[in-house]
Amino acid sequence: MIPTEHYVALSALLFVIGGIGFLVRRNVLFALMSIEIMLNAVNLALVAFNRAATGNHTGQLFAFFVIAAEAAEVAVGLAIVISLFRLRRTVRTDEADLLKN
């Protein structure tokens, strides 16, 4: 029986990796993938806490909705990436300055 702390520690580790990737990388695609890693880590924590309280399914339900929201986020995010690439021929976040001036 693996204790819940192991799962929570793994989830925190994955979240940190995703957060560092989001802060350090300048490629939009890698930024989106880092967000994916972070949301996956959150899902793991939710499911692990649900395992520690088996009276209801709230944690798994929440993780389900996180997955649904994430699918929507990725679809819109990648559409924005394509749109940005058409306008600027770039995938760098710091060249996305259409609102400047």
């Binding site: 029986m1 693996i2 204790p3 819940t4 702390e5 799962y7 793994l10 925190a12 580790l13 994955l14 940190v16 990796i17 995703g18 560092i20 990737g21 802060l23 350090v24 990388r25 490629n27 695609l29 890698f30 989106l32 993938m33 880092s34 890693i37 996956n40 899902n43 499911v47 692990a48 649900n50 395992r51 520690a52 088996t54 209801n56 399914h57 798994q60 339900l61 993780a63 389900f64 909705f65 997955i67 649904a68 929201a69 994430e70 699918a71 929507a72 986020e73 679809a75 819109v76 559409a79 394509i82 749109s83 058409r86 306008l87 600027r88 021929r89 995938v91 760098r92 710091d94 001036n101």
Partner: protein, 187 residues
Amino acid sequence: MAGLGYAYFFTCATIAVLGALFTVTAKNPIRGAMGLMSMVICLAGLFLALHAEFLAAVQLIVYAGAIVVLFLFVIMLLGPDAAAPEDQRGRTTRVLSGGLFALLAVFAGYLVVRPAWGQAHRLPSVPRDFGSVDAIGRVLFHDAVIPFELSSALLMVAIIGAMAVARGKHASDAEKSLPKPANEVKP
């Protein structure tokens, strides 16, 4: 029996962490997407160990089947430009911000884990249909009907929004319609 459980957990956890690190550090976006997929599959395995069979299936279908493939489609659409070399400007600030974030996260994790570390672990026994499609479906269509319907509306809006955004202007059209830079506008 317990040793087998630990071996399974640590195998999945190691591959997941390695996949995440590979994703974050990869030069080529396709390799990054592959790292993401290995992480997603390992997390689905951990969901199975946590008695969340339905979520494990959803994780595989939605992530490995849809999201990673969507990433791959976009990477192929962008072509070689998708692997733009990282520019080195502001690198110190970025690395510093990442390190600071990691330090804060380690501290927060220590505070969270410390009270329970080393105590006797007693997880509750699992009801017979915990996490099964049956049980989740019951909860989903009984307690969470309204959020469920709202999430379908969210996905609908996301589809329409993605279509509207992605079939926008080309660079050649944008030249005409974009306002001129401020220093060229006559007073």
